[in-house]
């Protein structure tokens, strides 16, 4: 997008992050590890909203939230209050959600923070409006599409999972920035050890967007970072075409349809729900003493920005590469594990940030889902150093390692990918190349380009496995003996 176009777009995000590393739910003792469990098995009278039960706040969740607030340089409240957000929907066992309130009287865990993202080396700072804790609703399961399913099943396993809601100011100016912000946020949460963003549904987001001269639209149901960018791009296009035709964009909430890749109206401003917020009487305000914040500050782990700076200093990496590595905790961890086994950090960095990432993207997986280990990558780098394989072969092996997790030596052996450096073998191959390209052989006596051509043909024949230095040497030797014969 051009600078002009960017200036006209304002995007704000509302990100819901599950605190997946907690052992229990936000207001009861049920395990928070609900994924893959039989429906309605990680539940108790409290998260099922059985009459008479009362919520019991998870102290660790509050601490996790404070830690995130610290990482986002936010103002932490001395006292925070839970509210009830009242609405009838089958995913709520109590037909209200215990949340926090952004209106008058509401005090979130923290407010007024910042987060920075880097786009093409330029740093953009986005303001955080507020951070708050709330309980996740249950999961509704439909047969096929929601509008044609003959029934709705409710799985309360997810009900009551601790959600941290992070709301930004509308400081983002492009869909790409929105995606980068989410990536950065995820990396921060992972570095803090509070949430594992790779788990399905662990990070969900609503986006609001407005164009100069238009009203604010909120987009719901965005499931992934890629979808954020897509949904926002679609919305910009839709709003821009409305405005271009002199039509108004109304304030409304829209639903992102992932399969059809469009947004559809969910409700207009007039239909906005009245949540009848009021302070949750079953919970006392939670005091956050300065000592608590201080002790959390003391045990704060290294954050992505600091890690990036350290990578530049400690390993001499270019800042852009260090940025890429630290944009994902698993990637940075992978890199650092490699450095413990292999001294050329820049070499590791090159492989990780280019070939490995390309390979992962190609398979649409994350480093955590791939089978490659740091030891295997390092082994492969050593094989290149030893001249056992070429760099080009290395790329092939890398692909295989990501998929199968096999050791590079096994892969090379199995697929006959080891470098050909035996004289006799190469000699025979060169002989056949010379037979096939007599003109090139002739030209090579005077033209250096033709020499390269012959080397290239040999490489092609060996699928890149010929030792390039030796091949070069042997070809030149043979050319010299040819010349003598001709003489």
């Amino acid at each position: 997008m051009s600078t002009m176009e960017k200036a006209q777009v304002k995007i704000g995000l509302e990100v819901h992050c599950q605190l997946t590393n907690l052992k229990t739910k936000l207001f009861c003792g049920c395990p928070s590890d609900y994924r893959g469990k039989e429906p309605n098995t990680t539940v108790c009278p409290i998260c099922l909203g059985i009459p008479g039960t009362l919520p019991r706040p998870n102290q660790k969740a509050v601490e996790d939230a404070i830690m995130v607030a610290e990482a986002l340089s936010s103002q932490i409240s001395e006292e925070t209050v839970f509210y009830r957000k009242n609405y009838y929907y089958p995913d709520m066992s109590k037909n209200f959600q215990i949340s926090q309130y952004d209106g008058g009287g509401g005090v979130p865990i923290a407010a007024s923070g910042t987060i920075s993202v880097e786009e093409n080396g330029t740093k953009i700072t986005v303001r955080i409006r507020r951070l708050q804790l709330e309980e996740d609703p249950a999961r509704l399961v439909h047969l096929g599409a929601i509008d044609t399913s003959p029934y709705t099943l409710v799985d309360y396993n997810r009900a009551g999972i601790a959600l941290l809601e992070i709301v930004t100011e509308p400081d983002l100016t492009s869909p790409k920035e929105a995606r980068l912000l989410l990536q950065k946020l995820r990396s921060i949460l992972e570095h803090l050890g509070v949430s594992d963003g790779s788990l399905e549904g662990a990070m969900r987001c609503d986006a609001n967007i407005s164009l100069a001269g238009g009203a604010r639209t909120e987009i719901k149901n965005i499931s992934s970072f890629k979808e954020v960018e897509r949904a926002l791009n679609f919305e910009i296009m839709r709003q821009r075409s409305l405005l271009a035709r002199g039509l108004k964009t109304g304030q409304e909430t829209r639903h992102w349809d992932e399969t059809r890749r469009t947004t559809i109206t969910l409700r207009t401003k007039e239909e906005e729900q009245d949540y009848r917020y009021f302070p949750e009487p079953d919970l006392t305000p939670i005091r956050i003493p300065a000592e608590t914040i201080e002790s959390i500050r003391r045990r704060m782990p290294e954050l992505p920005d600091a890690r990036k700076d350290r990578f530049v200093k400690q390993y001499g990496l270019p800042p852009s590469s260090a940025s890429v590595l630290t944009s994902e905790k698993a990637l940075a961890d992978f890199f650092e594990k490699c450095t413990h086994l292999y001294s050329n950090a820049r070499q590791i960095c090159n492989w990780v940030t280019t070939d490995l990432l390309r390979c992962l993207h190609g398979q649409s997986i994350e480093i955590g889902e791939s089978k490659i280990t740091p030891a295997n990558l390092v082994e492969m780098l050593k094989m290149i150093d030893e001249g056992v394989i070429s760099g080009k072969i290395g790329k092939k092996i890398l692909h295989e390692m990501v998929k199968t997790g096999s050791s590079p030596r096994d892969i090379a052996r199995r697929h006959g990918l080891v470098r050909i450096s035996e004289h006799e073998v190469l000699d025979k191959l060169i002989e056949s190349v010379f037979r096939e390209f007599p003109n090139a052989v002739r030209d090579a006596q005077t033209d250096e380009k033709a020499v390269h051509y012959l080397v290239g043909q040999l490489m092609k024949k060996t699928e890149g496995r010929a030792d390039p230095q030796l091949a070069n040497k042997l070809i030149r030797e043979r050319l010299r003996s040819h010349a003598q014969q001709v003489d």
Partner: protein, 488 residues
């Protein structure tokens, strides 16, 4: 001859301890009494006679083996039907929960069972504790044992009536705006509403969480103190409970009260107070004058606004608390289900709830809605602060405050039920205490034309010990101790 069911918990405990009676005999006596009068009084919704007998036999066995038994060994306790008893249906007197069987015990029930109390059954109440007469019950009204044509008060009317006529020795009620004190007053027994946060609400099916407390109902102040000792104290399952350690409320009952300064609250004798009530309670004040440091009138002007503030807060909280009854997970569900969930919800709620519950949910939703929240709910909270401050001021001069519990004697069944506002007005003297979160006890003060009148003694936060002491001294001096209704 005095029957066992007529005795107090303390007397029964002495008989059992000395081997002059067994727990089973005590339980049988109460069950016999239930068989004799229950069809006239209708105090219970659900009875567990067999469970009670079994528990009594276990206790007798343990006594025989010289094993230790709890403080309530052999004492029959009735539980208001809005507190969960595991495996026993808990209805809140509502069609909505007619067949709801809780999977757990409320903390108070757990503590009573641990003290070897014998839970005999679940008592009738106004639906979801919304009422002052126990007429708003899906299962029909409870009748006042002193005059079967009159109401027992509410909403814990079943519990109070049961204790008054010997269908239980002790009972639990819940008090959101007077629901323990009102029926205690109407049935001439003792009822205590503890300081907010003294007794765990875990397992109490919520009506208005920020106002309500579970409280004991008993024939004497001493029994009331015994039951309070069993149920009070911190509970990690209710984070609004205070952590103040364990107390035996019975041990200081007989300490002198000669230095206690008594404030007589002018507003509690306000306009609309029945002349019989004023007369009877003022006679009680005369008695207090003799046994304390002295009584003096005090005015708490904000009490005038406490009734509307109370109803706004209670209804607002109720509208949210009762939202969960949608027929999806438990309770009643409208039979003609449609595929539209909101349609099924509204049919279920319309038929599952009684008229008074629907009225309060609708009014509460209205008070919380955008544009009205500040005008109603926030304003009510401001009044609440004023009431609290007025009480604080009063307690800088006085140790306890007194006045009538109810502005009128027990009224006739059907007399007020048609006019909700008139019924709401009956709570005028009890709700201030709930707004301020203070402890208050209603103790029998005498009769007016044969109808019971109660006196309310209000204390500072967590001053249960003192108000029990004053009530106990009053009980002894007024010689109203354990009068039984002439019910055969």
């Amino acid at each position: 001859m005095t029957e066992l069911y007529e005795l107090t918990a303390s007397e029964i405990a002495r008989l059992i301890a000395s081997g002059k009676a067994t727990a089973e005999e005590c339980v049988d006596s109460v069950i016999e009494r239930i068989h004799a009068v229950e069809r006239k009084v209708h105090a219970y919704i659900t009875l567990d006679e067999e469970g009670a007998r079994q528990k009594a036999r276990q206790i007798d066995q343990r006594i025989k083996e010289k094993k230790p038994v709890g403080r309530l060994a052999g004492i029959v306790v009735a539980i208001k039907d809005n507190m969960c008893v595991q495996g026993t249906r808990t209805t809140c007197s509502s069609h909505m929960l007619e067949n709801f069987i809780p999977p757990y015990d409320a903390t108070v029930v757990e503590r009573i069972k641990r003290a070897d109390g014998i839970v005999i059954g679940k008592t009738n109440m106004d639906e979801f504790a919304m009422g002052t007469s126990t007429e708003n019950s899906h299962f029909g009204p409870t009748y006042n044992p002193w005059d079967l044509t009159r109401v027992p008060g509410g909403s814990s009317g079943g519990s109070a009536a049961a204790v008054a006529c010997g269908e239980a020795i002790l009972a639990l009620g819940s008090d959101t705006g007077g629901s323990v004190r009102c029926p205690a007053s109407f049935c001439s027994i003792v009822g205590l509403k503890p300081t907010y946060g003294l007794v765990s609400r875990y397992g109490l099916i919520a009506y208005a969480n920020s106002l309500e407390q579970i409280g004991p109902l008993a024939k004497t102040v001493e029994d009331c103190a015994t039951l309070l000792t069993v149920i009070a104290g911190h509970d990690e399952r209710d984070c609004t409970t205070a952590n103040l350690g364990v107390k035996d409320y019975k041990s200081h009952l007989k300490k002198p009260i000669l230095k206690v300064r008594v404030g007589v609250v002018k507003e509690l004798f306000g306009e609309g107070t029945h002349e019989g009530v004023t007369k009877t309670v003022m006679r009680g004040v005369d008695t207090l004058e003799d046994i304390t440091y002295g009584c003096e009138e005090i005015s708490l002007p904000s009490l005038e606004y406490s009734l509307p503030a109370y109803y706004l807060i209670a209804m607002s909280e109720a509208s949210s608390n009762l939202a969960r009854y949608d027929g999806l997970r438990y309770g009643y569900r409208a039979p003609d289900e449609s595929l539209e969930w909101d349609d099924t919800y509204s049919k279920t709620r319309k038929r599952g709830f009684g008229a008074e519950v629907r009225r309060r949910v609708i009014l509460g939703s209205f008070a919380l809605s955008a544009g009205y929240y500040d005008r109603y709910y926030v304003k009510a909270l401001q009044v609440r602060t004023l009431v609290r401050r007025d009480f604080e001021r009063a307690f800088s001069r006085f140790d306890v405050l007194v006045g009538p519990t109810m502005p009128l004697p027990p009224f006739k069944v059907g007399e007020k039920i048609k006019d909700p506002l008139e019924l709401y007005m009956c709570d005028v003297d009890t709700v201030p205490v709930n707004l301020a979160g203070l402890p208050a006890i209603s103790t029998p003060c005498g009769f007016f034309e044969g109808l019971p009148i109660g006196m309310q003694i209000i204390g500072r936060p967590f001053a249960e010990e003192l108000i029990l002491r004053v009530a106990n001294a009053f009980e002894k001096s007024s010689r109203l101790e354990a009068t039984s209704p002439p019910l055969r």
